[in-house]
Subunit: 357 residues, 2 copies
DNA sequence: CGCGCGCTTGTTAGCGCAAACATTTTTTAG
DNA sequence: CTAAAAAATGTTTGCGCTAACAAGCGCGCG
């Protein structure tokens, strides 16, 4: 009868208190070790770290958040992203949120009309009690919404914004440089006749990718045949159409650089339909490394955007700014040189759709 | 000069204390109203609810979790899902987590070898201090891992499991029925010669879909020509290959039912390559309604799986079980008739790849 | 040699909420 | 109409952690 402990399903996790006891220090010291912001003597720190390891201690995020006073809620705002993109975004953001002790609140504005939703979005966000928001494209390109966000004094991190100003916080990749590298890559494979499928002009990434292509070509002293530049709109269908146009040319390109994977997939489909073998008769490369790239056959050589990493970095940036930006009433203590605009590296992934000639 | 509002970034959120004051009751009473488990007089409840509304009070999840002793962390376990699937899964789960006051912890086992990871996965999960986990396919079909989970006494909800036993908690769709309906749908469009592309045999969904197809055909008194049944493996490439086989047949089908969208997309690509127009010369339908369905051209008529809803429901189920299943010492109070196996409805979405003949 | 200063560590006081127990009010029964 | 049970509400306590301040310690300098 004595065998009923009062707490049957008690937390198996050690608390900071137990760590403190084992290490022979106060809880506060343990907390300091955990948060690495204040000085702790090397010997003490080691002792504490050993105790942490021994007890397999993991701080309780709830308690930490509560005590710290920060509500720790971060919003992730998006509008009709591809599921692919969203999946990666979420994984990255979530990962980072865990590390930083934040909570992700999903704010999907897909249903609404993006035009009208500036104020609506802002209202919903500020009503949600969020400490800050991360804005994914294409909302991150929408001036109206951005203005509204600024006006509402919501700390905001933009992913792949139209242009980085000093006023905003952002994470992006260097589309132009990436496109340049990919163009170099194609040229390295011996191609000289390279077709390019542009994206829609209203997306800044699209413009930057085209610019990168042009400058690589220029750098190599190649002239660009205007008929080899076709405009698409980032859809599969537009890729198909563009490929039909390109392949109907008397002097047709040996390689096509589509500015995203959807269009590249469309190109491959069109080529196959027209009896043009990829990559034997035609090389095709894309951009983004979405699921399309590996789902179709042949798999696409493309540029991998570190979407998850961008999201993770956004959370980190936001977190840091949230911690510092507490306006201390009047005392306009300027935030030091906090990173505001991070540009992440991009990588060319080689698969089967580009061949050396 | 109407200067700065008092506290620029001070907690905009009311606390339970303020609500209590406004309603003229104790904090505890407010808490009771919020948690609806104990008796509160109608009049009091109304007063409290008014106060809550007036102050726009929202309970602090952190504090609630801390005080309640439940850590509220739910794990979502997956292995190499398509990003599409993952995106939907996450959105649904996250949504529901918010409603239920849980926190989602992403556990991605993509990197590891699924074969060997049974114990590893379990260890990582129990080490993470999770209260329960949701297991997405294909892990939810892996007996070893499931057994390990059961042995470790981790409360688990399976999404689309191999088969629903009385012992587990699951959310699934009725693949067979969905396939049956889609087959009816194709037949309704006048097709009599219907090719079917099976998925891999080791995935139970694949088998169920095939079964559904067969029973619909049988119900309509149609005999199935064996040469019209081709095996694929759920990949685009296998869809292409299958279509080539099917279209090379002397008496070829007028419609092809691929058991997922990836293969359906492959079929469309192959057909186009062979000069067979979709949907004019050949109708194609898929299953899942992934991003492929709308990305390619023509867009696929397919069966939409409510993935987000399944994830959301999983969280709800788990939450309910977590609340009830607290082993109350000896007193084996059986959980009442808690829902254990939920089957969600599926919907046929009509787009452009199926045509009436 | 003593004061003060910087470095390191400890102490105290909650964060917002719900569990456990205490108290008051209402209902029921005799 | 009163005692006891039941229902409704209040009080206290502490979840695990960190902020803010206090205290101990060693050191250099006048």
């Amino acid at each position: 009868m004595n065998d009923l402990p009062r707490r049957p399903s008690r937390r198996l996790h050690a608390t900071i208190k137990e760590v403190a006891e084992l290490a022979g220090v106060s809880q506060m010291t343990v907390s300091r070790v955990l948060n690495r912001r204040e000085a702790v003597k090397e010997a003490t720190r080691t002792r504490v770290e050993d105790a942490i390891r021994e007890l397999n201690y993991r701080p309780n995020l709830l308690a930490r958040g509560l005590a710290g006073g920060k509500s720790l809620f971060i919003g992730l705002v998006f509008h009709n992203p591809s599921n692919t993109y969203l999946g990666e975004l979420l994984v990255g953001a979530l990962q980072s949120c865990r590390d930083e002790g934040h909570h992700l609140v999903i704010e999907d504005f897909t249903s609404g009309d993006i035009k009208e939703s500036g104020p609506v979005i802002v209202e919903r966000l500020s009503g949600a009690g969020l400490d800050g928001v991360i804005v994914a494209p294409p909302i991150s390109e929408d001036d109206d919404i951005l203005d509204a966000l600024v006006a509402a004094q919501i700390v905001t991190v933009l992913i792949a914004p139209k242009d980085v100003s000093k006023t905003d916080i952002s994470v992006s990749i260097d589309d132009a440089k990436a496109a340049e590298e990919m163009t170099d890559h194609i040229l390295d494979h011996g191609h000289r006749k390279i077709g390019f499928i542009r994206g829609p002009d209203n997306q800044s990434s699209s413009r930057r990718r085209f610019r990168g292509f042009k400058s690589a070509m220029a750098r190599h002293g190649m002239t660009i045949d205007d008929s080899w530049i076709v405009r698409g709109d980032y859809t599969y269908r537009s890729g198909m159409l563009a490929a039909e146009a390109l392949l109907a040319l008397p002097n047709r390109p040996t390689a096509i650089f589509a500015s995203n994977d959807d269009m590249a997939a469309g190109v491959v489909a069109s080529a196959q339909r027209l009896g043009v073998k990829v990559p034997d008769d035609l090389s095709v490369v894309g951009f983004d490394d979405t699921m399309f790239a590996t789902s179709i056959w042949p798999q696409l050589t493309t540029v991998r955007q570190p979407i998850a990493e961008m999201a993770a970095e956004s959370v980190r940036l936001l977190s840091r700014h949230l911690q510092t930006e507490e306006p201390k009433d009047g005392n306009g203590e300027t935030v030091p040189d906090l990173l505001r605009n991070v540009v992440l590296d991009v990588e060319i992934v080689t698969r089967d759709s580009l061949r050396r000639i």
